[in-house]
Symmetry: C2
Subunit: 157 residues, 2 copies
DNA sequence: AGAAAATGTTTTCCATGGATAGTATTTTCG
DNA sequence: CGAAAATACTATCCATGGAAAACATTTTCT
């Protein structure tokens, strides 16, 4: 038998105190958790979380302005440019400059882009729900509902 | 009278569809929202969100190892080094190297650090609760509870 | 019409935080 | 005991995304 049962070394447990109820900290930890599952399950498609979201939005809002989509999901124009360029290089998206207002850039999916989104749609909207996440189905939807209220996307019921 | 009532330009509304129920996207938007309020209300103290959290944890867990604290809140050792160095430079934290195991670094608050934490504690734990956030008090605590379950910090009740 | 303002995107530069490798110290094991 | 492994922190380099300015085009105002 081993000398002691200490699992690893000491693994000293750190107390959170009231900080364990801080919304900010909880949101950060949750997001890291989601990223973990995302990369574990979907990384083989070669897309980052925000990239699929943008493809999805373009598919739902064809010919929307690049800036409008960026603003809606709070990604900065500078970053949007790079993100869209990668999608264009990958052959999933095309930029269209309308004749009547040549300041703006409209986005639409290419054939390949459409195919990609319809094929992967289900996988990208359910990768978490399937996961054993510690939450019952009803708690999961309640969590989503509360976050939607928090973001002004839904009335408090 | 103006020619038209269009509020700004067109401000074309972007549809989210099912993506509006994506936990990942909702978490990201929520976190941005919290950061916004944080910087609006607390930036004058010159601390970033993670920095106050670390001070708090040191205060609750005096002489904890630098690495243990980092691991607990999922910040990487490399980043922890820089973060702690800034706190040391600011005179809030001191590093102690214990004689019996000189590989590790223990952290503790200086006098000034203790004073800072006790003075600001309330402000940093309540800056969101006061805020008009669209959630009733009970929904707010329910949200916190669900996030705690999601992070394995609490049993599903 | 022409100058000034507004709109929308892209370019350049910078801050943040992570990955990898390096250094120092202690522990383990032949 | 001495070499190898383990532990813990730090230094260097890199990727991501944002800020500010530059650029191009269109609209407004006199």
């Amino acid at each position: 038998m081993n000398k002691q049962v200490l699992p690893k070394s000491s693994e000293a447990e750190i107390e959170f105190g009231e900080m364990g109820h801080s919304l900010g900290l909880l949101l950060r930890l949750s997001q890291l958790r989601v990223f973990e599952v995302f990369y574990e399950k979907l990384s083989h498609h070669g897309l980052k979380p925000g990239e699929f979201t943008v493809l999805w939005l373009i598919s739902l809002n064809p010919d929307a302005k690049q800036g409008d989509i960026a603003r809606r999901i709070h990604i900065k124009p500078a970053h949007m440019t790079k993100l869209v360029s990668r999608a264009v290089d990958a052959g999933l998206v095309e930029r269209v400059i309308p004749e009547d207002d040549r300041r703006s850039v409209r986005l639409r999916l290419t054939q390949a882009g459409e195919r990609f989104v319809t094929e992967k749609k289900r996988e990208f909207t359910t990768y978490l729900a399937d996961e054993n996440i510690g939450l019952s189905d009803s708690d999961f939807s309640e969590l989503v509902r509360l976050l939607r209220v928090f973001n002004g996307m839904e009335d408090p019921k």
